[in-house]
Symmetry: C2
């Protein structure tokens, strides 16, 4: 293996791409990660995690699910030790937990009185949150598990009427949990009061045997090998008795006499649902960022085909970098801008969420509908686009993208269920549409829409249905006001159309797809607005001003790729854009994509992922993709020792059947 | 578990849906599968496969890749025994092989003289086909492995200059193969003659040890757990000597004196590439059909939410069938029509391919460019749409779609690499565009386009750029001539635009995305044309005439969903459709989707998949999804015996740390 020219070229390619940056990677990193202090904290956490050999994922690709589960339990054990060793507080522990991204069995939630909390914290018990049932996921009101109050004994009888009521998908319930927080219909004197929460012991903390009346176990592997380190479990309850005290009474209350007091702070619990969705948006952003980082780096160092094409074998002339293909740029750069945009929008959402929570604490719920709708729109948009985007990144990497060592398939496998959990995206879209229709009513009634995220509906009062009138589309489209105007026109028209369809007598249930279009358009408007706002803020912030132009270009690419490609259909179908303007808009799109592509490696470096975090052979910082892939494969147990012997023996058994051995000898094969 | 009402309802739901069919499922099955005789043959094959317990995939979800590989070797062994036991001929064996869909290590290709063929057939040797390299996949001309002719010894010296030249991804090379058919640059007297094929012994048939100068092994797991039963391998050659005879000389020839005669029948080898792509199109059709069958059945029996919504817990009122949601119909029914359309187009392609091969045998290559372009367009379109479609089916199944037991994720995992192999889809798109641009030149030069698949370009001579003028869009759109007219207008305009872009000076390499759009539009035109043609043929065929209306509805849905949704953007951007016609077209789309939805279960039954083939818990014929899922999970090794003990021990280790046990006793938890 003397000729290492090609290999050295890979490192040169990535370094040259890195040097081309026309902005400071370090400043961008600090901006994205929330400042120097935050970056330092993150690095400390990384240091801690990388120093723990047990946290390494190097063996994962070669393990069965059972082995992966065992490994993740070992990690849980080590993490608990670390709390004491490093004297970690709750926040540090939570950060470490998030950072290592290993979904472990011990992640169950226990939000209860001191009694349960203390026990769970010292891991004397392990809790989980059991809502979903075999036959009921999205529709919480339709859950079939019941908790019937028995006043005589001051107990609840928790029961699953049939297997469709079995709790299912419950993280931690598969092998590890001792106690479950169970959502069940509260029944008092034959009257149902809807779903409430009950703490039900499921396994003995002494020997982990199922408690009386409980059938419990693990539901098996997930699609694409995802979530392999989580023991999602099931449980059936056969008239299980628990004391009245085991009902979580923070919200509702039941007296010994059977007097029920319904929850008063319902809206506070809404808050935590919003929080979960905001977390998902941020997760979507960074995970997409990882996929884009890997794909951009690999496509920078991968060379394939001569450009212009050559039909002669010429080992001395380097082929073209794959990142230089227009199709590869078109597939990756808009995703890069999407990752940036979602980081910014996630940040903005956190700010709004915190304000909401402060107001809710003083019983002011004015912001709730809007923040709720925003969180639904962004959650459904971001999970769909980021998981589709991860797969696109993987495909753009060619054949090796299909190796487990690309590291991209794992991102998709563990994140794709986000399309379903915390509200199925198509269900959430209906809630967004409902919110906007309510706002639309104001316009219809001649009033102003005051909700800041929907004030664009006011423009409907102008009554125009013409396309936006450009003079010079390719220049004007860079004006943020024009961009926002176009995005709001489209969204407003889709909302208005939905309203008209309803008025014309179509059923709500027949309008799912119209809601979906409204949802996408609304989300894209919100994200673009956040980006534009961020660029303005950056210009006004001394330490970020130098980055504002770069961010403006990313924002422009988000706008242009949405307008010209991913959502082109609705811009045209609503006549927001006239087809004759497309070719000039497309010119600007190409110019913008070229600007971003020139900085692509630097822009992905700015996410600041370590090689350890990325867990990839193909997208490491040094660009030496083929060497790392080679190294990863050498660890394959199939190539060595016992595993290899076992397989070899069986192959020889096939080869040597009949008189094959003599045949081979005779034929000198 | 006394209340089995919900469970019984599931079976009732699927049976009622089945009974609604307004056509004969059996006739449709015969039509799709090529007649009664073919169905009988298939059933015999199924019987054979189902009688072999070793062929069962029931344990697969719980196995590590090593175990899956071992299992697939056991299957290979059994299959070889079956050849003798059942006295199978080559075709029967190949059919069985395809049918069980287990990619086994012993699938390597050996197309060589009798010597190799006979040895491989009796499994005295195991062959594989080694083309792709670590650093070279798509670009065959750029392969780096060399075979240098050494006239003195009458041998070739096969060598990999560096690790980027390592053969990679080679199916069967990981653990099983003894001989590889290697693509390498033929070098004679320092002159390269391009890639040629050489048989290189890689492992001894006696002990399976690597031959001298060979480094060989398995490249490890694939994305999403796909291809787990194939030992894709790598090999490095360090000056490996093979006799001159080991060069495959069917096409090119090299004399002992070093005189090289280039291939004359190059075009025949093109033929086999076309064949591979046609096979992929058909595979895409049936695999998508499986996913749609599973999703349609599960969504028919799954109930979720009351319709209209109810905010009270009411266990007695059944919730709505998920298949009744307009979003679910919109996501699944167009995919159902796509599966049908691809079966039809695949059939049509086989016919064209056979004619081509007959003509090539008599050195007539007139049809080649057109058939080649058609195969490229359909391969790239079908693999993209069918794999995207499988994921959409999975997502439409809600949370349980994410269980391995849905059976859909496995389809995606093993078929998604088809986007890359046998020509990366984006590379193929360029070849389609090149073909169409050549045809366009005729129009520009005032000549007629004679190629039947591209004659629509002739309409460009009319010079109109107006949208199609509808009087009553919702009625006219059902006229096949109107449908074809619109699809051809769009495609022609995209080709013309691509030509203009080139003429205006844009680089070919800058036009990848324009080629992609052309490719999609051309493929959709071809498929629609095949469907329309099929409906006509069916009307004229006595035993199929009764099905023609049903097929017409499916064809209409393919047309309307492509026009109104999946490819709406280009119909509007080319001004083929005016936005003002969309609402009436959409009316017809909804009416058509409703017709197909009414027959959905019957239309998927018509594919004729057995439960065994579908390998699903959620989409079995009897609709009892939850019971089957429950049963599948009970086999989970994590819930029993040794595996369970091992995990339990570790959890107890965590629970009992410090004085937790005493704490639990004291707190009575």
């Amino acid at each position: 293996m003397s000729n290492n020219k090609t290999l050295a070229q890979m490192n040169t390619d990535i370094e040259e791409a890195r040097q081309k940056a026309n902005f400071s990677i370090n400043s961008m990193l600090n901006m994205l990660r929330g400042g120097e202090e935050a970056v330092k904290k993150l690095n400390d956490l990384r240091q801690l995690a990388e120093n723990e050999p047990i946290f390494s994922k190097a063996e994962t690709p070669f393990q069965s699910r059972q082995e992966q589960l065992y490994h993740s339990l070992l990690i849980s054990k080590r993490m608990i030790e670390l709390i004491e060793e490093k004297n970690m507080d709750d926040e540090q522990f939570a950060n470490l937990f998030r950072h290592i991204e290993l979904l472990t069995p011990a992640q169950g939630t226990t939000e209860q009185s001191d009694k349960w909390y203390t026990a769970a914290k010292r891991h004397a018990i392990i809790g989980c949150y059991a809502q979903t049932e075999l036959g009921h996921g999205s529709n919480v009101l339709g859950l079939n598990t019941v908790a019937v109050y028995d006043q005589k004994s001051d107990e609840f009888v928790v029961h699953s009427p049939d297997i469709t009521a079995a709790k299912w998908w419950i993280g931690g319930l598969g092998v590890a949990c001792t106690h479950a927080v169970v959502q069940a219909q509260l029944i008092i004197n034959d009257k149902s009061h809807g779903p409430h929460l009950f703490i039900v012991p499921v396994r003995s903390p002494f020997d982990l045997k199922p408690c009386r009346g409980i059938t419990v176990g693990d539901i098996g592997p997930k699609a694409y090998g995802g979530f392999a380190t989580t023991d999602n479990g099931f449980a059936l309850f056969d008239h299980v008795r628990i004391p009245r005290d085991n009902m979580l009474m923070k919200f509702a209350h039941l007296s010994k006499e059977g007097k029920y007091t319904p929850p008063i702070h319902m809206k506070l619990s809404y808050g935590s649902m919003v929080k979960l969705r905001v977390d998902i948006v941020t997760d979507a952003a960074w995970k997409l960022g990882k996929a884009v980082t890997i794909a951009t780096r690999y496509c920078t160092v991968r060379r394939q085909f001569h450009n212009p094409p050559s039909f002669k074998f010429d080992n001395n002339r380097p082929e073209a970098q794959v990142i230089s293909y227009s199709s590869v740029q078109h597939r990756l750069m808009p995703l890069l801008s999407t990752a940036y945009a979602l980081i910014i929008s996630g940040e903005a959402m956190y700010t709004k969420f915190n304000t909401l929570m402060e107001q809710l604490e003083v019983n002011n719920a004015t912001m709730l509908p809007e923040v709720h709708a925003t969180s639904c729109a962004l959650k459904s948009w971001s999970t769909r686009r980021s998981t589709d985007g991860m797969e696109e990144c993987r495909k753009a990497m060619g054949g090796h993208g299909y190796s487990i060592f690309s590291g991209v398939s794992e991102l998709f496998a563990t994140f794709v269920p986000s399309n379903t959990y915390e509200g199925d995206n198509f269900v959430l879209a209906q809630q967004v549409a409902r919110f906007l229709l309510k706002q639309l009513q104001n316009v219809v009634q001649g009033k102003e829409v005051t909700s800041t995220t929907a004030e664009y509906l006011n423009t409907l009062a102008e009554g125009t249905t013409n396309p936006y009138e450009f003079q010079n589309p390719n220049e004007e489209i860079l004006d943020p006001n024009v961009q926002l105007k176009i995005f709001s026109m489209r969204s407003a028209r889709l909302v208005a159309d939905l309203g008209q369809q309803l008025q014309s007598g179509r059923e709500w249930s027949d309008l799912n797809m119209e809601c979906w279009s409204v949802n996408l358009a609304h989300a894209e408007y919100l994200i673009l607005k956040d980006m534009i706002c961020k660029v303005d803020t950056m210009r006004a912030t001394p330490e970020q001003a130098e980055l504002a132009d770069t961010m403006k270009t990313i924002s422009d690419l988000f706008c242009l790729s949405t307008l010209g490609y991913s959502s082109l259909a609705t811009f045209l179908s609503t006549s927001t854009i006239h087809p004759s303007d497309l070719s000039r808009l497309n010119e600007q799109y190409r110019a913008t994509i070229a600007k971003v592509a020139d900085n692509a490696v630097a822009l992905t470096d700015s996410f600041g992922f370590t090689d350890h975090e990325l867990n990839t052979a193909l997208g490491k910082k040094d660009g030496r993709a083929y060497e790392h892939l080679w190294d990863a494969v050498q660890k394959n147990p199939i190539n060595h020792g016992e595993e290899n012997e076992k397989l070899t023996k069986l192959v020889l058994n096939i080869l040597h059947s009949g008189n094959n051995l003599e045949y081979v000898k005779a034929s000198k094969l």
